[in-house]
Amino acid sequence: MLSQAVVKRLKEIVGEKNVVTDKVGLLTYGYDGTLLSGEALGVVSPTTTEQVVEIVKLMNEHDIKLVPRGAGTNESGGTIPSEKSVVISFTKMTKIHEIDTENFVAVVEPGVINFDLQVELAKKNFYFPPDPSSFKASTIGGNLGECSGGPKCFKYGVTRDYMLGLEVVLPNGKVIQTGGRNFQSEPGYDLTRIIVGSEGILGLVTKVFVRILPIPRAKKTMLALYDKVEDASQTVADIVAAGIIPTTLELMDNLLINTTEDFTHAGLPRDAGAVLIIEVDGYQEDMDEQVKTIGEIASKIAKEFKVAQSAAEVDQIWTSRRSAFGSVARVRPSYGVNDITVPRSNFPKAIGGVLKVAKDFGVTIGVVAHAGDGNLHPLILFDQRNKEETETVHAAEQALCMMALDLDGTISGEHGIGLVKKKYLDKEFTPAAMEAFRKIKRSFDPSNRFNPGKIIDL
């Protein structure tokens, strides 16, 4: 429990209503997108950088750890409170300071919700490319912390590629700026890059300079249906070989087609083994040629290929994909999300590997994948209340991670490590690389004050 003196001081810093210490209040901040939970000593929601600095100093005086949090939608356990910690919630730092379309920059506070930024940008015919499926709820600060991806990564990259500069409160309470409003402002070392994806273990980000782009003049959304998942992955390989870089190559298997169909009624055929959503963007005059090439490639194997004819049709297709995670809750009460990624050429093998794990462990797995990136999200369906089943699921998840590593892949393509995948990290990285992470952590946070225990232990 926090002492009365600390609570009083916190309230002085951020105001009475921005401090939570009651049991019920704390409980709601103990969860994220995973099945883990923890309990913080308190939750504090600053509204300015100065307040963040004061909070950091106060916590340092009392040797209390800080766990940063945005919307808490992450799939890694990155925001689960650790022992003797206070959660610092950035959801009240929601100002969009500036949108400068002429110079391709927006300046925002970390609590701005990705979708809210997209809405403001869209008014000016601009957008922020990283849009994880959680984008209606997740914050820019959270996206940054986990280095989120989304469906457009094949062409546009992940969150790190759109971060130009940051204002950061360091574990010693000092404020620095990394980068700036352009690609050329890093101070010797690329500090922005090391902070992006660091899950708050190196510093607390209080202002973000993001790169924004004009909405492409044209886009085309296509849908291909297959008997088997393996067939879909062949189309993916062929499209890339043809020198086309789609924005999107999203795959859902039969299970997900059915669960999303129950929910959205988008009209996907329930008997299809897999669906591939393909999107290209660019100049209007280049669309026909690309669509024709992709159509020829897909039609070699697909049982059906169609091009969306209207914005409504496009929306319908995307609603299915965006609701994929949630839709499985109709089948079983819990699901475990995995984020394994393999080199594109190993994608068919990874699909085979997932089927094998499902069989070996006797678990139900649905697959949704960013196929162009080799990034798979096998969803394992189960009931968390059943202890034995839960343990089987954990074992299956471990098998999935090992399978990805055996295929020269990674245990995380876009969700981050947090607590959930931390135990597998030394399977992916050599001792020298693990030590490099610790050197970096020690440089920023020698006393292990920020989000301790996430990604690595000191």
């Binding site: 920059v105 700026q177 402002s185 660091s198 280049d286 990624t341 050429s345 995380s412 970096i440």
Partner: protein, 434 residues
Amino acid sequence: MSNVNISKLKGIVGDAYVIDSPSEMAKYLKGQGKPAVVVLPASTSEVSSIVKLANEKNVKLGVGGAVVDTQGITGGIAMVMSRMNRLLEMDQLNLVAVVEPGLLHKEFLLKVAEFGLNFPPEPYEIETSSVGGCFAIGDSDSKSFEYGPTRTFLLGFEMVLPTGEILEIGNKCIKNVSGLDFIHFAVGSQGTFGIFTKLLVKLLPAPAAKKAVIGTFASMHKANAAFNTLIKRNVHPTRMNLINASLAKNAKPGTEGQLVIVDLQGFKESGKNIANEVASVLTLGGGSDVKIIEEGAEYDQVINGWLKVRAELNAKRSRTVEFVVGPMKMPQALAQLEALTGDLGAYPGVIVEGLLGYVCLALPEGTDKLDLATKVNKLAMSLGGNVKGLLGHKLKADVYNDAEMWKQTTSLLNELRQQFDPKGILNPGVSLEA
């Protein structure tokens, strides 16, 4: 005089690859420092052994692709990576290449082209730049608006740390957020975290069509106004560059006035239309001799002209001032800059990367660099930018009157460096102070 143990070095790499006669060493060196020896390793384990030896004897070690900067390594070892120049793998399915660091950038580009692929980063120096150097410098360039900065193209590496240990990281996945992002953090660290011994490079399919539009302008201002028109029209070429009259002749012999080079890499259909649009905007904006270049050899000539000028400026970084503003603020920036520099056309060198809002000024003899940079930084900050890099950070902190922030930044940088290189052995000429 020197602690370098020549015979041990010879034992590691073989007699032929340890050079200690000053006359033979010269072609591998640049700068004023006087290293005791040049050594050319052929493998990762040789690099590791050399670094361990340097640690034992507390000898400074500088590394370069074909040529080593000798600053800070007097009496020490200059390591040249040119024997580690193999293309180890070209993986077309995954659009990835595995290369050794000493492979020349220009040779890598030829190989990549043979496979119908594209490696966008520009060479820092046309003839001698290596792929290892490309990522060690890790800059952005005039194509970064479209393709992203250099770091975008590194997926992993093998590195010999300053203590001699070998670190491998990364994989062929184009999406990877596992662990801390040491992969991209190492890019641009100028060999202070370690020596690249293998690089896992991301490639792209080659663009279906390439075209350039060139033209000359009587004034820098008119050319920039034309750039703004293009941005307003939502036209974002691959490159949109401007070279002032003094340098334009080096890029394209016989040029009178300021030279505009617009590079269009993309698809055939849109390429045609955009080239026409760019050409008319340049002509209406006051450009003369505006020309669309479609033929391959002529296109290469134009682009190489740009790279040549770019490399000339890179070669004298101590005598240039680089700054960035918002791209649409460039006309204001140049107008205000002229109050400091006089006529920009006649200035020894000015290049503008229009899409990125970047300017590089080659200083006339006798100009006080720091003084000019300080003034330029104030100007740039009022237009949403700053002087580039570490110097820019110091000048920004000065403007904020925030000495503490500067102190905090440099102490963090030095702490990071020291964590990796406790004895301060590797590339001591790289300064993290401005």
